[in-house]
Amino acid sequence: MATFFNTILVGISSGSIYALMSLSLVLVWRSTRVVNFAAAGQAVLSTYLGYEAMSRLHNYWLSLPIAVIAGALISALVESCVMRPLAKRSKGTAVESIAPVIATLGILGLIRGVAGLIWGNTFLQYTSPLSSKGFTIGHTTIPFSPLNAAIVIGAAIVLAIFAAIFRFTRLGLALRAASFQPEISRLSGIRVDQIRTIGWAFAGAAGALAGALVTPTAYLSPNSLDLLLVSGFVAAVIGGLESLIGAVVGGLVLGVGFAFILQYIGTQVTFSAAFIILIIVLFIRPQGIFGRGGSREA
């Protein structure tokens, strides 16, 4: 019984990270109908910048917002300099849905290469002042540490902020309107291009937070978030690419699912498990838990 609950705790912690990455992907999908495969790369770069801040300022809590802001800026840059012109140029052509995929792949490769050039391919340590030793309750130590708590709390705060923005502010309304009906939005005076960039900026911030929170538990290198990219995508599909709530739920479901697989089957299967879970979801309920229905057409 204890193992069961422990597994769930572990799952919630990792699930929060997946939820953030998945949120990043869904934000981009909702605003521009593109899956940003470079999301993990952007997150890594932001984390490197947070790492730099950390090395200079010796303050993890300061480095976090720096990483997040960096993530937002990087993402905004990518959208306005690459994705927007690309969308205009490929509109109506046969490669309209493939071109953005290729572009984001190129950006992913570029970021990795640049990160490698600047910081090298060795593993760096991004230390957090929080302990990764589990809390002790009575005589038992549960696999849930202050670090994990920070992850869950951090993710929850960000999600709450996003939810509030989307629900209660003009900006949120504009973001939603522009993602549903760009033309009507334009005719209502919404600057759709800029709104899309803001959507990407939010996505970049979410991804950066995921990176900055999770990296202290492992190491930092140009490729360190690969599994996160796949997991984020799978989580987004589970929740339904259309829904922000779905992104979060999907992340948590995946996190707990992985935790159970890890606990009861073994570490090696994790990568393959992601693939299998994805296939199962796409076959059983392609629109995800919160999706609206219809086939998985782009």
Binding site: A103, L105, G106, L110, G113
Partner: protein, 321 residues
């Protein structure tokens, strides 16, 4: 391009092969190795061109399919002691099988969903090898195709031999694909790619066409994987990373995603970039960091620029009757 029949193409291939064989005796080992690399990449990229350029489906996981082919070939040699040409075919068949299964799933997916699924495959499949002892775990399995047969001559070095094997395979595959694409299958795929609704109305079974394209593409990828294993001398999970899958897609886009002949250009570019980057890096001081990362940066920039400036690829697919 003139309308060539299969026979003409065969003669052309023969001619090209003869020229290459002759040329290979006059270059050093490194070039022979790179030549083999180009040939193998060309085959792999051709598999992407077939899939994306002709039937409009995207795959970020062809590296994994190469792995399937490579592992199948190696296992066939180790456990069944098959001669290596047959192992290559086994690699292709294994790829086809994997592609068939994947293709059935893929036919229901489009755009980003297909991309994401194949991405998950690319990350997930090679690490399966770590699970099963028969697949050699992290160190992988060795693949030894031996040296050139005696009747060719003593001066035929190992890499020159690899080059020749790879080129023969490449010529054969390209000949097959070119012919295939001018049959009604090729036309069907093109119809499915440009306008699925119209194609369906015309009576083309879209799902079937897509699955067929995926199966074939994976067969070619599997074959290239077996050849890749030959060149490396082994198969291991680390040989088939996500980067490999991305590299293949990059090569296809650089060459013009619907252009079969462009696969060779794409392969040349892909092999040339690390080479040129090394030259640049040495001039800049030659640190490990630069040599390891500069090729990736250059390739990525090329990819982004290409897709921005010419989303359809540099060459416009020629209209065929």
């Amino acid at each position: 391009m003139k309308r060539n029949g299969p026979a003409t193409r065969f003669l052309i291939s023969l001619g090209i092969g003869a020229i290459l064989l002759f040329a290979s005796g006059h270059v050093d080992e490194l070039r022979a190795y790179q030549g083999a690399q180009v040939a193998i990449y060309a085959i792999a990229i051709a598999s992407i061109v077939l899939l994306t350029g002709f039937s409009g489906q995207i795959s970020l996981g062809h590296g994994a399919l190469m792995a399937v082919g490579g592992y199948a070939a190696v296992i066939a040699q180790i456990h069944w002691h098959l001669p290596y040409p047959l192992t290559f075919l086994i690699g292709g068949l294994a790829g086809a099988l994997a592609g068939y299964v994947l293709g059935i799933a893929a036919a229901r997916l489009r755009g980003p969903y297909l991309a994401g699924t194949t991405l998950a495959l690319a990350v997930g499949l090679p690490s399966l090898a770590n699970q099963f002892h028969i697949l050699g775990g992290e160190q992988g399995l060795p693949f030894d195709v031996g040296t050139a047969p005696n009747w060719i001559g003593k001066e035929f070095t190992q890499y020159r031999w690899f080059f020749w094997v790879a080129v023969t395979a490449a010529l054969a595959i390209f000949w097959l694909l070119r012919n295939l694409l001018s049959t009604r299958y090729g036309r069907r795929w093109r119809a499915v790619r440009s306008n699925p609704t119209a194609a369906a109305l015309a009576g083309i079974d879209i799902a079937k066409a897509k699955v067929l394209a995926f199966t074939l593409s994976s067969a070619v990828a599997g074959l290239s994987g077996a050849l890749f294993a030959m060149l490396l001398g082994l198969v291991a999970p680390l040989a088939f990373t996500l980067i490999l899958s991305f590299t293949l897609v990059t090569g296809a886009v650089l060459a013009g995603v619907s252009n079969l002949g462009g696969s060779i250009v794409g392969a040349l570019v892909l092999v040339a970039i690390p080479e040129l980057s090394n030259v640049v890096a040495t001039h800049l001081g030659g640190s490990d960091r630069v040599t390891a990362n500069l090729p990736g940066v250059v390739t990525s920039v090329l990819l982004i620029v290409t897709v921005l400036l010419a989303p359809n690829g540099p060459k416009i697919p020629r209209r065929r009757k």
